[in-house]
């Protein structure tokens, strides 16, 4: 269908007006971030997976632009360009189109998102509970019922990983692969076998370093084998990784108990209150304990908002798809459709140029999907 009829447009507008009224009453001012965005800001941060679904094009000067694939980054850019002091609290709402190439589920290539972004909020758990409450209220105001809420908390895993004894470079690699469950599992098990024990086509290079300085050894190797230096990646970068590989060889394998603990955590799933028992049974250190206390405080804060966390689900795996989340994540479904999703992403504003780390919470409602769920 090439566009909406007058009736369809009115129906969507009416539904979305009910959502925006909830946002307005809660004190969020409606902004209109640019639809056309510089492409690199999305692509440099997300990599090729998002690029594959983003409409990218060039302006006559050759600059790469894109149609925004969501409104979170555009709202962050809006904030950084308008707010004199970005670290001061700001509450924004938005309603507008976002664009993605259809994926295999043939989702529409242009769709309307209604959402909130809350920057610099104080009291972390109270703000998180408030965000979920607003998402639920907005969906209910539009007429949705029998909502199913799933919670996740990326901070619990980060705490547990921080508390698990292992070389920092292994931790960094596990944290990075956390977002890709299969690669994560393979990596974790390779550390249990001692990391770099398996031979590969570069084992001889590592053998040759011996007790020498890795950089000298690498330079010597290039000379002896008549290999020219090519490209931006310098020999110092190559040597730094060779040194890590050399260190991996003599590293103590990650104890089986540690592997089991991390995997036991990732398998936790169930009622948001019921899982407390399983979460408490996992013995982490100070980092995990702090994250767990945060989780429990959040459950109390959800009740204070008039929500009933007993009816929510928790999944340790949930939130492993979008790399920018740093803590609380949630999703609201009805009739099998994912209607709204969001969470905490405290690194984003700094990553986009803010002078310091600024707390950030947000969510978006997929308004056409909501319309389907209501029909």
């Amino acid at each position: 269908m090439a566009g909406r009829t007058a009736k369809e447009r009115e129906a969507l507008a009416r539904q979305n007006a009910a959502i925006m009224a909830v946002f307005e009453r809660a004190g969020f001012e409606q902004i209109a971030p640019d639809i056309i965005q510089p492409a690199d800001i999305f692509l440099e941060r997300s990599g090729e997976d998002i690029r594959a679904r983003t409409f990218v094009f060039n302006d006559p000067n050759g600059a790469e632009l894109c149609l925004r694939p969501d409104l979170t980054v555009p709202a962050c850019r809006f904030h950084l360009s308008h707010a004199g002091q970005p670290e001061k609290e700001a509450r924004y709402s938005y309603l507008g189109p976002a664009f993605r190439f259809p994926d295999e589920k043939l989702s529409p290539q242009e769709f309307t998102q209604a959402g909130l972004e809350w920057f610099g909020a104080g009291e972390a758990v109270a703000a998180e509970a408030r965000m979920l409450k607003l998402a639920v209220s907005a969906l209910e105001a539009a007429g949705a019922s029998a909502l199913q809420v799933t919670l996740g908390d990326v901070g619990l895993f980060a705490g547990l990983l921080q508390d698990t004894a292992m070389p920092e470079r292994w931790r960094r690699r596990l944290q990075h692969q956390f977002w890709r469950p299969e690669a994560f599992k393979a990596l974790l098990h390779s550390f249990a076998l001692g990391g770099g024990k398996k031979r590969s086509s570069i084992s001889e290079v590592i053998d040759a370093i011996g007790t020498a300085n890795p950089q000298d050894a690498a330079v010597r190797w290039l000379e002896e084998h008549h290999l020219p230096q090519q490209g931006l990646r310098g020999i110092d970068e190559v040597a730094a990784r060779l040194a890590e590989k050399l260190a991996d060889r003599s590293e103590t394998p990650l104890p089986q108990a540690a592997v089991e603990k991390l995997e036991a955590y990732l398998a936790v799933e169930g009622g948001a209150e019921d899982v407390l028992q399983s979460l408490r049974a996992i013995s982490g250190g100070a980092g995990y304990a702090a994250a767990l206390a945060h989780y429990e405080a959040r459950l109390a804060a959800l009740e204070e908002q008039g929500l009933n966390p007993k009816r929510f689900r928790f999944s340790a795996n949930f939130g492993r798809e979008i790399e920018y989340y740093t803590g609380f994540v949630f999703q609201v479904e009805a009739r099998g459709l994912n209607l709204a999703g969001g969470g905490r992403y405290d690194d984003m504003l700094q990553d986009l140029g803010a002078a310091q780390r600024i707390p950030a919470l947000g969510f978006a409602i997929h308004t056409e999907r909501l319309q389907v769920a209501l029909s």
């Binding site: 690199d40 692509l43 440099e44 990599g47 090729e48 997976d49 690029r51 594959a52 295999e104 690699r173 990075h176 692969q177 977002w179 890709r180 299969e182 690669a183 393979a186 990596l187 590969s200 086509s201 570069i202 084992s203 290079v205 690498a218 190797w221 290039l222 084998h225 290999l227 020219p228 230096q229 090519q230 490209g231 931006l232 990646r233 020999i235 970068e237 190559v238 040597a239 730094a240 990784r241 060779l242 590989k245």
Partner: protein, 229 residues
């Protein structure tokens, strides 16, 4: 009887080998009109029209349905048609045009043997240079699928439509995904293939649209070609 359109390569070694095989199987490719025409007929099978196209256009024609049957490289077919798309499929792997689609990095990357290394290098590169590691290729889809399956993220594809192997030396990309037969071109450009960098072992294939794979003429053609392989 409906007309089947059979797309075959219009030039180069692939054309010679495809025509050679078809004739060996007892059919004849006849051009209509001048020798330079792009239409023809297959004698020996009723109502089969020939379309002479470039190998990459053949994959696109199979996808769009403009061609019912075609001979092209498996690399181009897999690049054009996603694995979960049932619009066309390979009926027969022909024994010519062998080539591998591979991931290759500069020889001087002494610390890189596997795709897993590449993921770490991508992180390191972004941290130190403030931008994404670039992969030059004409196989954008094959590259995305392979990198995703191996958990490699944080790279960017730079589309390259020729002399891809020169991109790292020219500074337009850090590494490449390209097709190679002997590997000699890669070696000459000081590039090495990763241990698990083989994306596809390609050769020329006979492919057909889903709707005509069961056609009696197609089956007759397949049976005759099988006898020659």
């Amino acid at each position: 009887m409906n007309t089947l359109t059979f797309a075959i390569p219009s030039k180069g070694r692939l054309m010679e080998q495809a025509q050679g095989l078809i004739e060996q199987a007892g059919f004849k490719v006849e051009r209509i009109g001048s020798d330079r025409g792009y239409r023809g007929r297959l004698t020996g099978l009723e109502n089969v029209e020939i379309a002479f196209l470039s190998a990459s256009d053949i994959a696109a024609a199979l996808k769009s349905g403009e061609a019912d049957l075609g001979i092209t490289g498996e690399d181009l077919l897999r690049e054009t048609i996603a694995p979960d798309n049932a619009v066309a499929d390979v009926l027969l792997r022909l024994k010519f045009g062998p080539a591998n689609v591979v991931v290759a990095v500069p020889d001087c990357w002494l610390d890189v043997a596997q795709m897993a290394d590449l993921d770490e290098v991508a992180q390191q590169f972004y941290r130190l240079h403030g931008r994404r590691m670039r992969v030059a290729t004409k196989y954008m889809n094959l590259t995305r699928r392979h990198f995703a399956a191996k958990g490699v993220t944080g790279y960017r594809i730079v589309e390259s439509l020729g002399a891809t192997e020169g991109a790292p030396a020219a500074g337009s990309a850090e590494l490449i995904v390209d097709i190679t037969t002997s590997g000699a071109t890669l070696t000459a450009n000081h590039l090495k293939i990763l241990d698990d960098g083989l994306i596809l072992s390609s050769c020329a294939v006979l492919a057909a649209g889903a709707s005509c794979a069961a056609d009696a003429r197609v089956q007759q053609l397949v049976a005759a070609l099988v006898r020659c392989l």
